[in-house]
């Protein structure tokens, strides 16, 4: 690591001020991406503003129509939450399958979304459930949030406060983990709600994206059988030493069908 100034603000407002005042400040939440990056000397921030312990950002509230999760809520907390398990079991399952226990005990939902790793789990749920991301400045719809590889709609100095998930009628998540990292080689989240059917894919592109062909096919028949004939093109999908674009395209179909079976199960 290179040297940096460390701050642990007592409130969100103070965190905002510190972040804006820093020459090249970074927020530290769970640190599961940032800290390894710093250890590798791949970043040299002037200031780290640690919001990981801000009580006002760590909560889970459910009111029957939606579940709201504070930005610094740990994956393990979401996975174990009775409210989440009751309202959106697929979301609890997703949180319980991120990384390993160490990652789940430290990593936060806000950190994951702000980072927008192409292979992260949460973006699939946020996008498929049509969640809203609440920041210090505004509310951002999931559809407007993910912009590209590690790129989101967040502006400099803007901090995620919470994410609210509408409670769906049915939802399911299935992930095929990259064997080494256990990130998503492909993850598919399917959701049926009053507003319609949404299918989101993570791990396969520069950031999470919706699979509209499947959404169309599922609109009238929310079942695995309905998408049997939907072909997923490998064009533009990620490719690496673990997985070609062609295999990823195939896995999108398999994971989607399995997620549907789970959602209906």
């Amino acid at each position: 690591m290179y040297n940096f100034a460390y701050h642990r603000p007592g409130s969100l407002a103070e965190a905002e001020r510190k972040l804006k005042a820093a020459a090249d400040g970074r927020l530290l939440a769970g640190g599961q991406t940032l800290l390894p990056t710093l250890k590798q000397r791949l970043a040299k921030p002037s200031d780290l503003i640690d919001i990981g312990r801000l009580a006002e950002l760590s909560f889970i509230k459910a009111d029957g129509r939606s579940v709201q999760i504070g930005a610094t809520t740990r994956h393990a907390t979401v996975a174990a939450s009775a409210e989440v398990r009751k309202a959106i079991p697929a979301l609890a399952k997703l949180a319980g399958g991120i990384g390993d226990p160490q990652v789940r005990n430290m990593g936060t939902i806000g950190g994951s979304l702000a980072n927008s790793d192409p292979a992260a789990d949460y973006p699939a749920a946020v996008l498929a459930l049509g969640a809203t991301i609440h920041t210090t400045e505004r509310a951002i719809a999931a559809d407007d949030f993910f912009k590209g590889l590690f790129e989101t709609a967040l502006k400099p100095g803007e901090i995620i406060k919470s994410v609210s998930f509408p409670v769906p009628e049915k939802a399911g998540y299935m992930k095929f983990a990259q064997p080494a990292s256990r990130f998503c080689m492909v993850g598919v989240f399917v959701c049926k709600a009053g507003s319609g059917v949404r299918v989101a894919v993570t791990g396969a592109g520069p950031c999470a994206f919706r699979q509209s062909a499947m959404e169309k096919a599922l609109a009238s028949n929310f079942s695995a059988a309905a998408i049997e004939s939907v072909k997923v093109s490998p064009a533009g999908l990620n490719a690496d030493i673990h997985c070609s674009a062609e295999y990823r395209a195939h896995l999108v179909g398999v994971m989607a069908r399995r997620a549907l079976t789970e959602a209906n199960g």
């Binding site: 095929f176 064997p179 673990h242 997985c243």
Partner: protein, 789 residues
């Protein structure tokens, strides 16, 4: 059997300190005034080294020194030596280019050390390393193992075609003859995938120089501190052994990668005198990936000739083995003498010929990794035997039984040099088949099919040669050291015992096993016995731990030392009880006068030896401490059968290892729980090789692209089934304990069993390791396409 004696499942003594974070590893050692080292490493796989400008780095805060090869040359520091000299088939020695401790003239792999920075703090050392300017002019990288001899670039001028050696074993003419008359020849070509060891504890070293005495101390992560003292003292730094102490404290796993002498440990020892401060270096994980010696990496063609009934007539093997950029300590031995002599397997194959070409490439050095040559050999034999069974439509268990060497045939001399001492191969096969319920496999397969899963079963009837090694044999084939072991039994006046061994425990539980052995034999309470290892100042000598040798060679040395203790004890007891020595019997910790109830406990005898008020001083020296050296008469030959069962999800290519039966013969067993643990861990590593682990270098640039856990997949608990483990016990006839060694068996047996199972499930001939989901999916697709035709 007592609760702590031979055969007892005693919980490990060392676990309290390990599990409570109280172990003392090399990085835990901090010496007064210690400075920190870091190494600037080449980002290029192959490049000419131009000017190195360290002026800026030297002027940075806290920097004590920046060293390059020029500094080493000025001090006449030697290169890193190879401990094995192979004779090629043309009678010439292997090509052995120099291995400078810091790169000289050229860098030869990504990670090759170019400069060493020593600073007050680690962060300062790293900052300074970043400020060193190095002129590289890139050269084409030699990466591909099979293509190395034809590459346009030479890793070393001394080996223009990148060939280090061409070596052969066996009778070529006789083998050709066998093939000529064969009814069937089965063939396979495959790669034995390269592995990165990944011990939990990265390598580390602390060097310290005492100006008052002129003595050096090196704390290092080693499996064999005496070997490091010998190699580093004699060949690199010219420090006589009596002035050099090497300590290998708690070591968090080695798997072979900590056998070798590495440049970094020599450099901290050299630098600590240069800067007048103790110097510590600890590898970062990224550094471990790049610079720990890797394992395996063969490209092999194998053919097995059989008659119509499946009797083996001849075996022919050709392998190209990647040695990496420099010859690591035992590199030339691993793909030759530790590999090809195992080609007889458990079988009576009458004619065998094998050829191995060792090549240099611009990759990290390759050396012994758990099993070292024998997993590769087992993979060759057990994959081709399985293939022959399929070609001939024979049951895979039957074709093996038909060819097993029978118990009555021991000692059995194979066509590839070894003399097997003992074994009951069919017995292990039968037990393994029972354990896994082989006869009902078809039912399980049908049931899986209903769930959309392809179920497969695979055998691996392995043998290994371990308990290394008879020194005369080792010397004859090229080892530049003996391979005996030393042990000391030291009684203290009040009856407790210190056991000193030249083997080294880095996860194997020797502190427990050896204490059990001594407790059982001498009747001293287990808790009164401590085991010392890993310090050249406390141990007479030792060759360390690798090649499943600790109990077979180190344990035998202790056994001999205990014989001497008992002999001396009898003479002391005879004096104390005023009886004739020949009338004294030793049993259950007491010396008795035969036929009487007179006895002296061994504690009383020890006390008499140290407080010799009533003692035969004119015949015997006081004290009760004995040292023994043991040089084995032969290798030991653990063997057994492993059977793997898998289920493949053809839609995703995911392989689940659903069952595993392992029946091993390690001869006599001291602590079955520890032995089972070794089997479990070994199988996990073997499953890792077959299913998950694959070191990948970019084939053009020579960059290591699986250089972190993001891309290099280590086996985890959820990748593994619950194993069914059992044993047969055929005592080793030539060592005093009848033991054979168990450390490597799992890793040796497992890859072949698993790949036989996966190819069985998919109904295909072969699949490359690791069987990644995409590879398996593609094979399943192709199979589906064939089925549809």
């Amino acid at each position: 059997m007592t609760e702590t004696g031979i055969g007892a499942r005693v919980k490990r003594k060392e676990d309290f300190r390990f599990l409570t974070g109280q172990g003392t590893y090399t990085d835990d050692i901090n010496r007064h005034g210690q400075a920190h080292a870091c190494f600037l490493r080449s980002p290029h796989a192959h490049a000419k080294l131009g000017a190195i400008n360290a002026a800026k780095a030297k002027a940075m805060p806290g920097v004590l020194a920046v060293f390059t090869h020029a500094d080493l040359a000025a001090d006449k520091v030697g290169g890193v030596p190879c401990g094995f000299g192979l004779t090629q088939k043309n009678g010439k020695p292997q090509i052995e280019p120099p291995h400078p401790a810091l790169a000289a003239g050229k860098v030869r792999y990504a990670g090759d050390a170019v400069a060493m920075v020593v600073a007050e703090t680690l962060a300062q050392a790293r900052d300074a390393a970043e400020a060193i300017e190095v002129g590289y002019s890139e050269l084409p990288a030699v990466v591909d193992t099979a293509g190395a001899p034809r590459a346009k670039s030479a890793v070393h001028d001394e080996a223009p075609n990148n060939v280090c050696f061409e070596w052969e074993i066996g009778d070529k003419a006789k083998t050709d003859e066998a093939f000529a008359k064969a009814a069937n020849v089965s063939k396979l070509e495959f790669v034995n995938n390269r592995l990165i060891p990944n011990a939990m504890e990265p390598r580390a070293a602390v060097g310290e120089y005492d100006r008052a005495t002129g003595n050096y101390t090196l704390y290092t992560t080693s499996q064999n501190p005496h070997v490091i003292r010998l190699l580093m003292g004699a060949f690199v730094l010219a420090i006589p052994e009596h002035r050099l102490r090497v300590v290998a404290p708690d070591v968090g796993g080695g798997f072979g990668s900590k056998i070798f002498h590495y440049a970094e440990e020599a450099l901290v020892t050299w630098a600590c005198r240069k800067v007048g401060r103790p110097v510590k270096w600890t590898a970062e994980r990224s550094e471990s990936f790049l610079t720990d010696a890797h394992g395996r990496d063969h490209v092999t063609k194998v053919e097995l000739a059989t008659d119509r009934e499946g009797n083996f007539l001849g075996l022919r093997v050709h392998s190209i083995a990647n040695l990496g950029a420099y010859l690591s300590t035992f590199a030339p031995m691993v793909p030759t003498w530790l590999y090809a002599p195992l080609f007889a397997g458990q079988y009576r194959t009458p004619a065998i010929h094998a050829e191995v070409i060792g090549v240099f490439t611009n990759t990290s050095p390759v050396d012994a990794y758990r099993g070292a040559g024998r997993p590769e050999a087992t993979y060759v034999v057990e994959r081709i035997v399985e293939t022959a069974a399929r070609d001939l439509k024979l049951d895979p268990a039957e074709i093996r039984r038909k060819n097993f060497i029978a118990p009555a045939q021991f000692p059995y001399t194979t066509p590839v040099v070894l003399q097997y001492d003992s074994g009951q191969y069919a017995l292990a096969m039968d037990k393994a088949c029972q354990l896994i319920d082989y006869k009902n496999f078809a039912k399980r397969k049908a049931e899986a099919e209903k769930r959309g899963r392809l179920r497969g079963i695979g055998f691996s009837a392995y043998i290994e040669a371990c308990g290394v090694a008879p020194s005369a044999v080792a010397g004859a084939i090229g080892a530049r050291a003996g391979l005996y072991e030393a042990g000391v039994i030291r009684f203290h006046p009040t009856g407790s015992v210190t056991v000193i061994t030249g083997t080294h425990s880095h996860g194997q539980g020797h502190e427990t096993t050896f204490a059990q052995l001594v407790s059982d034999r001498l009747g001293v309470p287990y808790d009164s016995i401590d085991v010392v290892h890993g310090d050249t100042d406390r141990i007479p000598f030792g060759m360390g731990t690798y090649g499943s040798r600790s109990i077979a060679v180190g344990g035998s040395a202790l056994s001999k030392a205990m014989d001497k203790i008992v002999d001396k004890g009898k003479r002391i007891a005879a004096h104390l009880m005023e009886a004739a020595v020949q009338d004294i019997e030793f049993k259950n910790g007491a010396f008795r006068v035969a036929g009487t109830d007179k006895q002296k406990t061994i504690q009383e005898v020890a006390f008499a030896a140290y407080v010799p008020h009533n003692y035969p001083l004119n015949e015997l020296e006081p004290g009760l401490e004995e040292t023994a050296y043991y040089d084995p008469a032969n290798f030991t030959y653990p063997a057994g059968t492993h059977i793997a069962e898998v289920e493949v999800d053809p839609q995703t290519g995911q392989v689940e290892v659903v069952d595993w039966a392992a029946v091993d013969d390690f001869g006599n067993v001291i602590n079955p729980m520890i032995v089972e643990g070794q089997v479990h861990g070994g199988i996990a590593q073997g499953i890792g090789q077959a299913l998950l682990e694959g070191c990948v270098y970019d084939d053009r640039s020579g960059q290591l692209v699986t250089g972190s856990y993001m891309d290099y997949c280590m086996p985890r608990a959820d990748n593994l089934p619950s194993y069914r483990v059992d044993m047969t016990h055929t005592p080793c006839p030539h060592n005093p304990l009848g033991v054979k060694g168990c450390g490597e068996a799992g890793a040796i047996a497992a890859p072949a069993a698993l790949m036989n199972a996966i190819t069985n499930a998919l109904g295909i001939k072969d699949l490359a390791m690791p069987a990644t989901p995409e590879r398996v999916w593609r094979a399943a697709q192709a199979r589906g396409a064939r089925a549809a035709e």
